[in-house]
């Protein structure tokens, strides 16, 4: 592991792979801006000086070998790491122009604004309807008919409405694995978050369910800033506008997926996508 060293703030250790230019033209203003982000598990630094910006209404995918820090990066964006002791992030992360790492940030409110879907489907032990309504009820103020219509539209957006509209009161855990995962997506988008984070969302699913989830993501692209972490290169190539390659805690390069997968600029990216390691 790399020993902990405090990076000199003024010195950019690695030139930020500036793809913002080529991307922003296509994709509009950035939703997430990350500057000089470092992350530590205890004394071990697991993210190194990451700087980048991610556009709204697009899908950004992060690829890289296990332990490269891509999941850690995701967990910084909604401060999930705060649930665990001895983990901390340094640097600047803005979502929608608002700093999220500061000490005065209301973490519950941040997580409400940033939805997350996990590797394994995690339906709560309650009905399909209550699963989706869970977040809406947390925010308060949404009841009755409005609640119903919000649940329905979330399920529609997640492309699972037709499959569950007759069993809204069945236990969420009784659905199939792929349906469970789309239920979790519906639950995450029901509160209309600004950003949707997905951590290996299809790793535990069969190919058909995977396809359905990918279609769902394609449809959601028009509304949300979506960040996906995946070890499935084809998936990144299929669904994302932008792909970032991470290696040993560093963001090696980031750019339009079409370019990353056809003509990567960094040798390590090339090695990884051609299957020479990882």
């Amino acid at each position: 592991m790399i020993p902990s060293t405090k990076p000199p703030k003024h010195l950019k250790m690695r030139p930020p792979v500036a793809v913002a230019a080529e991307r922003t033209e296509d994709l509009g203003p950035p939703k997430i801006e990350i500057r000089a982000l470092n992350f530590y598990y205890g004394d071990v630094r697991s993210l190194h000086n990451i700087t980048m910006s991610l556009a709204d209404k697009s899908i950004s995918a992060f690829i890289g070998p296990s332990g490269c820090g891509k999941s850690t990066l995701l967990r910084v964006l909604n401060r999930m790491y705060g649930l665990y002791p001895r983990q901390r992030a340094e640097g600047e992360v803005l979502i929608g122009g608002r700093d999220i790492l500061g000490p005065n940030v209301d973490v519950a409110e941040l997580r409400y604004r940033v939805g997350m879907v996990f590797q394994k489907p995690t339906p709560f032990p309650m009905s399909v309807f209550d699963n989706v309504a869970f977040g809406l009820r947390l925010g308060g103020g949404i009841r009755g008919a409005e609640l119903k219509s919000r649940v329905e539209s979330a399920l529609r957006d997640a492309a699972i409405w037709d499959e569950v509209k007759d069993k809204l009161h069945a236990d969420g855990r009784s659905l199939s694995g792929g349906q469970q995962q789309r239920l979790c997506i519906a639950r995450a988008i029901a509160v209309k978050p600004e950003v949707l984070l997905l951590d290996e969302p299809t790793a535990a699913l069969d190919p058909i369910s995977t396809l359905r989830v990918e279609e769902t993501l394609q449809a959601l692209r028009e509304k949300y800033c979506i960040v996906v972490v995946t070890h499935n290169l084809q998936q990144a190539a299929r669904v994302s506008n932008v792909t970032g390659f991470m290696f040993m805690g560093e963001l090696v390069e980031i750019g339009p997926s079409s370019r990353i997968f056809t003509s990567p600029q960094d040798r390590r990216t090339d090695d990884y996508i051609t299957g020479r390691f990882g």
Binding site: A108, E109, Y112, L138, G139, G140, G141, E194
Partner: protein, 319 residues
Amino acid sequence: MAIIDPRHAAKQLIYERVFRSATLSAAILVLLILGGVAMSLLRGAWPAISHFGFSFVAREIWNPVTDEFGALAPIYGTVVTSVIAMLLAVPTGFGIALFLTELCPPLLKRPIGVAVELLAAVPSIIFGIWGLFVLAPVLQRHVQPWLIAHLGHIVLVGKLFKGPPFGIGILTAGVVLAIMVLPFIAATLRDVFDTVPAMLKESGYALGATTWEVMWNVVVPHSRVGIVGGIMLGLGRALGETMAVTFVIGNAHRISSSLLAPGTTISSAIANEFTEAVGDLYTSSLIALGLLLFLITFTVIAAAQAMLRRLERRSGAAV
């Protein structure tokens, strides 16, 4: 966009603080209970302690009429009955655990395991009443006469088996205790043996070792800490057990060299005499007995837990 009603959010934060404090208080209450037990026993026992001093634990006399009390007989009874119980229950429990982990056909493994655990769930008063009406007569008629006839004449050992076969007494109490702690010991040892990695056992078998040899040379050394911990946990139960003993001990405050004679234990003395005790010193002496029992069992159980924890950590780290 996602919007949270700020008043709602503030309420959530209050609920969070309330809930967290509630769980924390409940957790701390557990500490307070243990502390409270120690403090209240000490306070209740204080008159006896200050009156008798150290001689309380060194004297055999127990005379409510003259208000003279000593704890030696109950301590002796508690220790001896527990030793008998462990001598009988440890090898048997070891055998059951060995059978369950190494020999038992898979089909029977669960039913027998469950039966052993159910035996552990039977309340102690049932063992007591069973010991009094079933076991004691059997011991009196068949076992004790044999012991007197065959072991009573041997030098030294013979002393333990002298006198008439009462049926009830130290030995019977020890046997009932043995049956009571047997399921605990068997179940704990089985769990301990189960923590031994299969690969370790297989490499023993691969060398051509027999089941017993693998057990004795691989499993036992590997789980030594857990075995001692499990046995001490059983010992802790035996030392503190009340009802099963009270029925069959005979309740006599004296130390007899014979195991067949009636005796008393700390817990049975308290159970038998507490509500009838008159006078502060009598009551206080009984509470002092309770304090002694608390100290003894706390030490034994704490040591047992510490050992089992060590095993848990190690097997956790190995996986």
